[in-house]
Subunit: 492 residues, 2 copies
Amino acid sequence: MRIPLDLQSAVPLYRQIECYLRQNILSGDLLPETRLPSTRQLAESLGISRITVTNAYAELESNGLIYSQEGSGTYVMAPVSPSLPLEDEADISWPLWQQDVHVSEKLSQSVYPVQLSQRASHPDPISFTGVGDPRQFPLKDFYKAIQTVIQRDGITALDYGPFDEGYRPLRETISHILASQGIRANPDNTLITSGSQQALALVCQLLLKPGDAILVEKPSYNFALALFKALNLKIIGVPVDAWGMQVEHVETLLQQHHPKLLYTIPNFQNPTGMCLSGARRRELVVLANRYNVPILEDDFAGDLRYEGRAQPAIKALDLNGSVIYVGTFSKMLMPGLRVGFLVADGPIFGQLVDYKRVNDLTTSTLIQRGLDEYVTVGRYQAHLRRSCRIYRKRRDAMILAINRYLPPDVQVNPPQGGLFVWLRLPENISSLKLLPVAAEQGVEFAQGGIFFLNCSEGEAYARLNFATQTPEDIEQGIQRLGRALRRLMMAP
Amino acid sequence: MRIPLDLQSAVPLYRQIECYLRQNILSGDLLPETRLPSTRQLAESLGISRITVTNAYAELESNGLIYSQEGSGTYVMAPVSPSLPLEDEADISWPLWQQDVHVSEKLSQSVYPVQLSQRASHPDPISFTGVGDPRQFPLKDFYKAIQTVIQRDGITALDYGPFDEGYRPLRETISHILASQGIRANPDNTLITSGSQQALALVCQLLLKPGDAILVEKPSYNFALALFKALNLKIIGVPVDAWGMQVEHVETLLQQHHPKLLYTIPNFQNPTGMCLSGARRRELVVLANRYNVPILEDDFAGDLRYEGRAQPAIKALDLNGSVIYVGTFSKMLMPGLRVGFLVADGPIFGQLVDYKRVNDLTTSTLIQRGLDEYVTVGRYQAHLRRSCRIYRKRRDAMILAINRYLPPDVQVNPPQGGLFVWLRLPENISSLKLLPVAAEQGVEFAQGGIFFLNCSEGEAYARLNFATQTPEDIEQGIQRLGRALRRLMMAP
């Protein structure tokens, strides 16, 4: 036990030990029944005489903070008094350097969903937030896979892998899955990351420095915006319409702001659910090459198409390594695994592997092996077909319910796939104001503001995830939303 | 299937489809027996006429690249010709932006261990590299824990947790373990990270910008150096002696370089194995406050003490949030889990949580829950006692063998704990030159150079991990090292 002792101090050593232990016991840091080292052990490890420790223990015991049991040792007693309150942070004067770094937090808070205390107020709220439906996650099968891996690989399954691009068989599986989706990749330019979020973070850390400009869709994925803000990037928004990012504006913005990166979610965009048209994809690649700007393609749910014409990945149109492609298993399989991947060509790839290494050495080998054991191309395709079938019904149910239960001046553009429906609320209705009223009615959604650099621009919007609820609950939830809207519209 | 089609192109569409699939089949990206979408499906998803797809398939089938089975569908044939070689990267002219970011890679390569082709040359090499002994990892128990978690928590075990400091019960367990080690912490200032490497990365990303100076021990942990280099930090080394970092030099360096961070491994330092004296710890805290510099304390193996007097954690001497404490389960339990943690007080903590979030949202919830299920204070203490008993024997065996089998002018300073012995080689012997000769003899170690900013400064040193091998193999391995040394010394 490492107790800080000050040999120079006027306070006798036994008293220092006693105070230290007393504080930790009263604060609850030292759990009741925790066994303390013997007086001999502690004296030895602190390099002091045994009698000093004995005195300290005696003091504590007489205060009823510890008790000793013949032969078995000394133990912490359950504190009778309520545990010591933590010192009020306001009282402490933090070092100056701490105050300097206190800015970007406030910034990025704005892109996190508001936490509602009202949530409790409704017995069973229906939530249109979150990602895919957990009930679809193949838990049992994945568990079997972990079992197989541990039996097959033994301790190597829990050792560090090599600190490289990731577990090779998994990279091979991924490139085969991508090929079956029409995206050219191979294990040697595929890097396993801790979720697609880490892939975005690595690319930004490598390619941008504070103050650099980045081009993004407006609105865009809130945790990507949070990342860009945390890195103090200059975020330039390109408006989105029914065909995705309005690429016709991009060239001017490239000339004005000289961005170092172009971030796009071309398929079933988060939050709007729209897809970038084929013509715009080609135009984007042309511009990227003309202006020497890399494209970061976030294909978080590109496979979840329920109808309409599939567009090639931007990466598939890229001939010379201008596009970095990012994918994930979170939406399709299990978010909690935190496994994503990126595909990049050229010298940049080795750099990204390097950044991955210095960021967290490697992603859990057990999870990588388990995932590879579970995922096969065939299985993935089957799971994908099944998910599409289920989610398509839910999208239809939501669009139907919206038309039936929401005021006519609510605008919605039905997505051809993905997870999200993007609502434009009636005139003068703020989604932030709607949030608590809706919560009272028992329905939750993501307020539009978190998807904009400037929250107020998103006031008029709400993002609804249709994939997480059954058609029945969707109808139910939209009815509740309708009630909430009318209540707010009638309010003075 | 998303096949890139160019409607403007002179190449007929069926030919474009055919070429695309041919390329993917020959390259092996499309696995043999992969089922292709039906002509109807593909035509629909590409928004073209079915006959076009039929023509493309017919072409491929007549070339023996795919085959169709009555009723069941069309499948990829195993390619008879060897798979298509990837285009030679030299032929491709990468975009300019890729060439700009091509520097730091070479930099950080120098801190990674040399990969030896010679390794193969010896039938059973004995390795003194790596971390703890995998054979000590409690695999079965941990597997049981995962089992329990999945049965108890069901799908929530694989869903995202809340994107916060980490699974709270685990944070509670960690703070209790730290308390039992004499380090004051509580769940509200403890952040779960993906290994301690991520904790270091988060702190650096938050507190330093490219060009900022950082004070580190010289030599220091190679992956920390890799991180600092990747972030383009100005690395200032403070020499280490038998009592750890020579703090008497620190004040001058603080005045000269105004570093933004002070990184130290106070216990059983990596690579030297030395411990920072109590007086120096206090002095360091005083300086940190006087010069307004945060201390990053990396306590990767502080519990693994085999003898001698335990020193308090620097964090335990810190009164006002000047010290950020980093720990890990990798060395004690299972490296592959990738679970570490940091303890920080003051506003900085919220910032670090924020950075963790934007970096990878959260660490695998399954692993966090499994670890919490497995780790209890009592169990940890027991595992710790056991590890200390085993590793102590191995350290003794290595010191004994070094004195017995290595040339007398090899210098070593026996560590009181941890994992590493730091050898100073005889005059004019380079550890880099020794490496291949040792590999031939069947023994591996980490060459000193990787722990220095300037590799050549480490030429005279070798780091040996005694924790990974049995006493018998240690004796065997050191004998081999002795042979290698003599061979090199006798070489002209």
